[in-house]
Symmetry: C2
Subunit: 124 residues, 2 copies
């Protein structure tokens, strides 16, 4: 059992501590899932996660998630779940701050790998 946290986690505060973009930082865990905050700007790579859905909750800015058959806009206070296996490419014309929710161990680039792959399981 995890220790009982002594206080709540302020997501905007946590994201303000991050230097740079596309580097998710873990802020909390629920069972074997992690809550991660991240700042994004510009284009990411096409990828998918074969084994899990992935949730995006936008805190600030407007995130565009490109899908092979269209795109979705996700604004502050909005949630979007990319189903497992679905190719997607996040894009932020201006900086977007968001929270990701996914199982522990999921890499930001899915099975694509490459230079855009961030170090995993880094807490802030």
């Amino acid at each position: 059992m995890n220790a009982t946290p002594s206080s709540a986690i302020n997501l905007q505060h946590k994201v303000s501590l991050i230097d740079g973009f596309w580097t998710p930082r873990v802020v909390a865990e629920m069972n074997d899932y992690q809550f991660k905050v991240v700042r994004v700007l510009g284009d990411f790579i096409w990828h998918s996660h074969a084994d899990t859905d992935e949730t995006f909750l936008v805190l600030d800015g407007t995130l565009r998630i490109d899908l092979r058959d269209g795109h979705v806009l996700v604004k502050p206070g909005e949630l979007y779940v990319v189903p497992r296996g679905v190719e997607h490419k996040p894009f932020a014309e201006q900086e977007v701050q968001l929270m990701l929710i996914e199982p522990r161990g999921v890499l930001n680039t899915g099975h694509e790998g490459g230079e855009r792959t961030a170090q995993n399981d880094v807490w802030i």
Copy 2:
């Protein structure tokens, strides 16, 4: 595999559709987890969830979560994870709107049951 959603989910809009308090409504699923929005006001009952952690993300208002050894305040944009097995009692002096994240099938009253138990798995 779930169908790919055609648009994001606005949490404030979803919660505005709910009549009454303490009746969680499902807005999305991620694997075998559910995102639920709920309006709460006043006192709930002491309970725990033996098999799972439970996440509270406050959208509006200030939620107090009483624990047997103190309490935690959770404000808008803040997240709190109650570890499995930990007794807790949500309290809202004024209305609070929040999102719950937990596995499908979790009841709001845990193993306590009783008249405060809401119907489960109702979507909005």
